[in-house]
Amino acid sequence: MKPMRKITYSQAFVEGLDYCMRKLPNFSLLGNEVMGLGPQRVHLETIWRNYPERVNFPPTSEAAFSALAAGAAMSGEHVFCHLGAASFSFLSMTSIANEAATAHYASGGKIKVPVVFHMLHGLRIGGGTQHSMSPQSMYWNVPGLQIVLPSCARDAKGLVATACLSDNPTVMFTHDLLIGMEGEVPEADYEIPFGKADIKRRGKDVTLVATSYMVQVSLAAAEILAAEGIDVEVLDPRTLVPFDKKALIKSVAKTGRLVVADESHLSCGVTAEIAAIVAEEAFHHLKAPILRVARPDVPTPFSRPLEDFVTPTADKIAAAVRRVMG
């Protein structure tokens, strides 16, 4: 068997979008620079070229173009709506949380809202206070939204497809540092079902749940720890809504130990929810406290040593794992 081709997250993501373009005539794309401002941005141009009628560059009016996307979705379109840096989504929080998230429910199930709000998140080196945010937990707190965080090229392709084909509003986060990362990606079209966690590394000593770029960092941490004889299981939920509680509890039942890594700020972050689920539903399996590796509760500083200090790293994750190993 020949080895699978390797392409970047950006290329894989674009393949997922392209699949939806082919599959759904009523699918279109709103927003530019879906894959950031770096060199990987060029891959989107295939879509622009092949489907010029189905790509729209809106003005810098996040509230209105997000509402446009939601309203078009309510009218039968499927829309992929790119918001740029996640902090810009705060300009359209009302369109996402007040409108898109509630319409299906408030209408008594009559209205569908097949829209994807995509944004770039994470510590990206030099992003500073307003270009580094990771508000995934804020959106997880809004019922009615599906939440998707791909952690690698392969998942990006399948998850973006599922998101765009879904009948529900979805918030999708791409980590800036994943965009250029290569990985094995099948050529064929595929969708990855939501709500199915992926065990990115099997292990027996500690369950390490990680999201988005933190999956990559956690895999690096697992290597460090393997050399020390600690066998870490890295669990990637892939979607927070729906959340694969079963896989989480099954893993914790096996290992008895849990560390959670995610880049949202600590308080009420993604790590809090995952810790709370286990403290509530799998408490009797636990042999140690649940540790969280998250961004500390400070705005993100620009200066490199300061930014490094608040960035969750493989070393910090490894240290947390050692602590739960006692």
Binding site: A64, G71, V79, A106, K110
Partner: protein
């Protein structure tokens, strides 16, 4: 569809019937609120009926509509079942939206409505999406946003008009300016709009959007502006902005609606000597139903007897609708967890 500049006889009567349907519905609602049949804050459309009842004359079944916290009139004018509408406001399982929306979120998607937002300005952004979808579909459909003067204070309204203008989307921005005569919140009432624009239409015009400004109580004026605007949208000439001006109805000035001008007596259209002095201005100059009846009588498009008969028919159907709603079951509590996702 061609823009017809004036309504024929049948259409004039249809408009009157719609106005009566809305009026009788809301009069009953005030009573039902007093009876504590529902407990939430709510907003009435009384005084603005000529607008909704007329706008729908220019619409096709595949057009999209979006409304606000003040939605009863729009939803009923488009033909939603009053029984299901009452039931929605009472939170019944038989409600338009299964009781999940309530008065602030009534929507009839089967009639082209998108989600109803009670976030001021929210409806405008959603309607923009409807217009985007219509343009993509390419069959000449339009999307109408009904919103109040206050909605223009929200930046999303400006943003939405800009996008519609840039992309020539078939959006009808239908602003119902009921700001005249509104008391301020400091005086215990809902505030009128706070906008520095000498003319609301001037905002749309700054974005090169074709605009008009009309008397929202005047069925013919509304029809002229809307039929022309809708035709222009259908022809691909981009969005239009139409400002329908009404005086704020007495009963909608305080924080909680009051039936301050009494139950409507359609005969006041011709028995002016019976008009109570206190609300003379309302009955003579404001009430769009009396105004419309007077005009139809004058033009001999209807008889007094026919008016009374039509009203009786509407009242009877309204009473039945109300009964239906009151007799309807509440949804079971645990169904609250259903339909979060499609």
């Amino acid at each position: 569809m061609m823009a017809k500049q004036s309504l024929n006889k049948a259409a004039c009567v249809r408009v009157l019937e719609r106005m009566l349907v809305i009026r009788r519905f809301e009069e009953a609602l005030v009573e039902m609120s007093g009876q504590k049949l529902f407990k939430s804050h709510y907003h009435l459309y009384i005084g603005q009926e000529a607008t909704a009842a007329t706008v729908v004359e220019s619409l096709r079944s595949d057009d999209k509509l979006v409304t606000t916290h003040r939605n009863h009139g729009h939803v009923l004018a488009r033909g939603a079942d009053p029984g299901a509408a009452f039931a929605e406001i009472l939170g019944r399982a038989t409600g338009l939206n299964g009781g999940r929306g309530g008065t602030l979120h009534m929507s009839a998607p089967e009639l082209g409505f998108l989600a109803t937002s009670s976030v001021v300005g929210g409806c405008i952004g959603l309607a923009l999406g409807g217009a985007f979808a219509q343009q993509r579909r390419g069959r000449g459909g339009v999307s109408v946003a009904f919103f109040g003067d206050g909605s223009l204070e929200e930046g999303i309204s400006f943003e939405s008009m800009n996008i519609a203008a840039l992309w020539k989307l078939p959006a009808v921005f239908l602003c119902e300016n009921n700001g005249a005569g509104a008391t301020g919140s400091a005086k215990g009432g809902f505030p009128s709009s706070l906008i520095a624009a000498p003319r609301l239409a001037g905002i749309a015009e700054s974005l090169a959007i074709a605009s008009s400004q009309i008397d929202g109580r005047d069925v013919d004026a509304v029809h002229r502006a809307v039929s022309r605007g809708v035709a222009s949208c259908r022809a691909g000439r981009g969005p239009v902005f139409i400002e329908c001006i009404t005086e704020r109805w007495e009963g909608s000035k305080p924080m909680w609606p009051e039936l301050s001008t009494g139950i409507t007596d359609v005969a006041l259209a011709w028995e002016s000597e019976r008009m109570p002095k206190k609300y003379r201005d309302w009955h003579v100059h404001q009430d769009p139903i009396l105004l419309h009846i007077r005009k139809l009588l004058r033009k001999k498009l209807i008889s007094r007897a026919a008016v009374l008969q039509l009203d009786r028919k509407v009242i009877a159907r309204n009473a039945a609708a109300r009964q239906f709603a009151i007799a309807s079951p509440m949804p079971r509590g645990k169904t609250a967890l259903d339909s979060v996702y499609a």
